[in-house]
C-alpha cells in the first residue's frame, strides 16, 4: 500500500469542498485561495487549483469578475453563486455526517 496515494485519494474528495468554503467567506483571487489551501496543507502545487476552478465555474457554482492588478495581468476574482451556496450547504451537511461516522467508528 502506498501511503501517499491514499492521502491523495482522501484529499481529492475534500478539495472542492475546501475551495467553496474559502469562497463562502469572501470573494477571492486564485492566489488567495491557494494560500489558504497551502497553509492548510490540502494542496501542494497551484496547478491543481485552476482546472477545479474552471470546472466549478462552468458548473454554475462560481462566478468571477476581472480586476486590475499592479503585478501583471488582470486577475479573476471568484465568488459563490446562489447555486454554489446551496451546493456548499449540502456539502457542509454531508461533511458533518462523514465526520460523525468516522468518529463513531474510531471512538468505539
Amino acid at each position: 500500500m502506498d501511503l501517499e496515494n491514499t492521502k491523495a485519494q482522501m484529499r481529492k474528495g475534500i478539495l472542492e469542498y475546501c475551495i467553496l468554503s474559502v469562497l463562502s467567506r469572501n470573494s477571492c483571487y486564485a492566489s488567495d485561495i491557494i494560500k489558504e489551501l497551502k497553509e492548510a496543507e490540502v494542496i501542494v502545487v497551484e496547478g491543481t487549483l485552476y482546472p477545479l476552478l474552471t470546472r466549478q465555474k462552468n458548473g454554475g457554482l462560481l462566478s468571477y469578475r476581472w480586476e486590475e492588478s499592479q503585478q501583471g495581468p488582470p486577475r479573476k476574482y471568484y465568488e459563490l453563486t446562489e447555486a454554489g451556496r446551496s451546493y456548499l450547504a449540502d456539502l457542509d451537511k454531508s461533511w458533518n455526517e462523514l465526520v460523525e461516522s468516522v468518529n463513531h467508528i474510531r471512538t468505539r
Partner: protein, 539 residues
C-alpha cells in the same frame, strides 16, 4: 553572449534567455497537452498562463531577463502537470496509445507547401533530403515540379493537433518539441525560432535557407498564376450568368449583339410551352438553368478560392453540388427523352387543287398577312427561315410556309400543299399534319397565298412544316410582289415535272429570292428569267 528572446505571455512581454525559453516551451506544451481534451481546458490554460506572467513579473531581476532559475521557481509553484492529477477524477485522464500514421503536409516547417516536410515526418527522414530530390528531379523536364504540385493538391494539411499526431506517429512528442508551434503562447517567437531549432544539421539548415528563398519565389509565381486563373474563372462565370440573365430574364438580346445569337432566342423558354407538355415546361426551364448555372457557380467559387487562397471545409458542399448537377442532368435527359418521343414519327400528307386554263401571266400575291396577326412573340430557327409566330391569348401558332415552283408539261396549273408533322405514332403524325390549316385561292389571274399556316388551338408544335408547290406550264409569266418573295425561303427551286413526276429539280442560283418582288418573270427550265411587262390581259 547569451541569446535572449522576446515572448508574450498572457499579454505581457518578457525577455527570456535561451535555455529558460526551452524549458518554458516544453512546460507550456505539457500543460497544453494535459488540458487539451478536458472540458474547459483552454480556459484553465489561460488562467495558468496569466499566473505564470504574474509570477515572472514579481521575479524579474535587474536586467529584466527571465532565467532558467526563474522558470524553475515558477514551475515549482504551479507544479508539473503530472502533479495536478492528484485531485483529478480518473476518467479525465487522456491516453494516446499506438498512433496510426498518415501522410500530411506539415504547415509548421514548410517552404512552399510543406510537402517535403510531411514526407520527412512520414518516413522519419530529414526533409532536406526530399527538397534536394525535388529540385534535382525538376531539372528532368520538370518532373519533380509536377510531382510536387500533385502531392500539394493530394495531401491534406496537418492543421489540427490530431492530424499532427498522425503525421509524426509515435515520434510526435519528440518532434513537437523540436519544431515550431503555430499555437500556444509563444506565438511571436515561433518565426525566429523555426529556423534555428529544427532537427536538421548545419548543412541542412544552409540548404533550408536557400530552399526557403527559392520557395518564396516559386510560391509567389505560383500564386500569381493562380490569381490569374482565378480571375479568369470568376469573370467567365459572372459574364455567362449575366448573359443568361440579360437574354432570358431581362430579354435584352441586343446587349450582346453578335451573329451567334438570333435575337428571337429570348423567347425560347416561352416557345417551350408550345413544344412540350405545358406542365413539364417549367421543369425543363428550371432544370436547364440549374444544369448551366451550377457549373458557373462552381467556376466562380473556385476562382475566388484561387484568388484568395483560403481553406474551406467545402468537400461535402462540392460533392453535394456535383451530385445535384448529375441528378439534374439525369432528370432533364429523362424528361426530354419522354417529350422527344412525341417527335419520333414523321408523316407527310399532300393535297392539291388543279386550275385548268391558267392565265399566261399569273400574279402571285399574299392574302392573309403576318403583319395583321398581332403576334406576341416570334421565334425563328436561325439560318433556316423557319419562323413561328405566337399569340399568347389564344395560344395559337402561325408558321411561315415555303413556296417552290414547278414547271409542268401539262396545260393546267396546280397548287400542291405538302404538310409535314411529327407525332408519337405514325397515325398521330398523319392526323396532326392533316389538321394544319392553310388557305389559298385562285381568283381570275391571281393566286392568293396566305403568309402563314396555322396549328389549330390546343395542339403542340411538332416540327410542323408546310410546302407549297406551284405548278405552271413552261413560259408562264409570273408576277411576285414584295410579300410573296418572302415565301421563297432561302432558295428558289424550280422543278421540271413530266407526267406528274419530278424529272429534274434545280436551285436557281442566278436569281435570289429578294430580287423577285414587283417584277415579271418567265419560268423556264433554267430558272426564272426577267420578262418584259407584256402579255398582261388585265391590270
Amino acid at each position: 553572449m547569451d541569446k535572449t528572446i522576446n515572448i508574450n505571455i498572457a499579454g505581457t512581454l518578457f525577455q527570456i534567455d535561451d535555455e529558460a525559453f526551452r524549458i518554458l516551451r516544453d512546460y507550456l506544451q505539457a500543460i497544453n497537452n494535459r488540458f487539451r481534451n478536458v472540458q474547459g481546458g483552454h480556459e484553465t490554460v489561460e488562467d495558468i498562463e496569466s499566473r505564470i506572467a504574474e509570477i515572472f513579473q514579481s521575479q524579474r531581476g535587474l536586467a529584466g531577463v527571465i532565467t532558467k532559475e526563474n522558470v524553475e521557481a515558477m514551475i515549482s509553484i504551479i507544479g508539473k502537470p503530472e502533479d495536478f492529477d492528484q485531485n483529478e477524477p480518473e476518467q479525465e485522464q487522456k491516453v494516446y496509445t499506438a498512433q496510426r500514421k498518415r501522410m500530411y503536409r506539415n504547415p509548421d516547417d514548410k517552404i512552399i507547401g510543406g510537402v517535403c516536410s510531411g514526407l520527412g515526418a512520414y518516413l522519419e527522414t530529414d526533409p532536406v533530403l526530399f527538397r534536394i530530390l525535388f529540385v534535382l528531379f525538376t531539372a528532368f523536364f520538370g518532373v519533380g515540379f509536377f510531382i510536387y504540385i500533385v502531392l500539394w493538391i493530394a495531401l491534406p494539411e496537418a492543421n489540427t493537433d490530431v492530424r499532427k499526431r498522425e503525421m509524426f506517429g509515435n515520434a510526435y512528442h519528440s518532434a513537437i518539441s523540436m519544431t515550431k508551434q503555430t499555437d500556444g503562447p509563444y506565438n511571436s517567437t515561433s518565426e525566429q525560432y523555426s529556423a534555428s531549432y529544427n532537427n536538421t544539421s548545419k548543412i541542412g539548415n544552409a540548404f533550408n535557407e536557400v530552399f526557403r528563398a527559392i520557395g518564396r519565389v516559386c510560391y509567389i509565381i505560383f500564386r500569381i498564376f493562380m490569381i490569374i486563373i482565378g480571375v479568369l474563372l470568376v469573370m467567365t462565370g459572372f459574364l455567362a450568368i449575366l448573359t443568361l440573365l440579360m437574354i432570358f430574364v431581362f430579354k435584352l438580346p441586343w446587349a450582346f449583339t453578335t451573329d451567334a445569337f438570333d435575337s428571337t432566342l429570348v423567347y425560347l423558354p416561352d416557345f417551350l410551352n408550345y413544344i412540350v407538355n405545358p406542365s413539364v415546361a417549367p421543369w425543363i426551364i428550371a432544370l436547364t438553368l440549374m444544369a448551366i448555372i451550377l457549373p458557373l457557380l462552381a467556376f466562380i467559387y473556385w476562382g475566388v478560392k484561387m484568388i484568395f487562397w483560403f481553406k474551406a471545409k467545402d468537400g461535402i458542399v462540392s460533392l453535394a453540388g456535383f451530385v445535384l448537377w448529375v441528378m439534374v442532368i439525369a432528370a432533364l435527359t429523362i424528361i426530354l427523352f419522354n417529350e422527344g418521343i412525341s417527335f419520333s414519327e414523321t408523316a407527310r400528307t399532300a393535297s392539291q387543287t388543279v386550275y385548268p386554263n391558267p392565265p399566261d401571266t399569273l400574279y402571285v400575291l399574299t392574302d392573309k398577312k403576318v403583319a395583321d396577326l398581332k403576334f406576341d412573340k416570334k421565334f425563328s430557327v436561325p439560318d433556316d427561315d423557319y419562323t413561328v409566330f405566337l399569340v399568347d391569348s389564344t395560344r395559337n401558332m402561325y408558321i411561315s410556309p415555303d413556296l417552290q415552283l414547278r414547271i409542268t408539261d401539262k396545260d393546267n396549273a396546280k397548287v400542291e400543299i405538302r404538310k409535314r408533322s411529327s407525332g408519337r405514332t405514325r397515325e398521330d403524325a398523319i392526323r396532326k399534319s392533316e389538321s394544319l390549316v392553310y388557305n389559298y385561292r385562285m381568283s381570275h389571274d391571281t393566286l392568293y397565298l396566305d403568309e402563314y399556316f396555322t396549328i389549330p388551338e390546343g395542339n403542340k408544335w411538332t416540327a410542323d412544316n408546310l410546302r407549297i408547290n406551284l405548278f405552271v406550264p413552261e413560259k408562264t409569266v409570273l408576277y411576285f410582289d414584295s410579300s410573296t418573295e418572302k415565301l421563297f425561303h432561302n432558295v428558289i427551286e424550280v422543278g421540271w415535272v413530266k407526267s406528274d413526276t419530278i424529272s429534274s429539280s434545280k436551285i436557281d442560283y442566278n436569281t435570289e429570292p429578294w430580287e423577285l418582288g414587283n417584277k415579271f418573270w418567265t419560268i423556264t427550265e433554267d430558272g426564272l428569267k426577267e420578262a418584259e411587262k407584256v402579255k398582261t390581259k388585265k391590270k
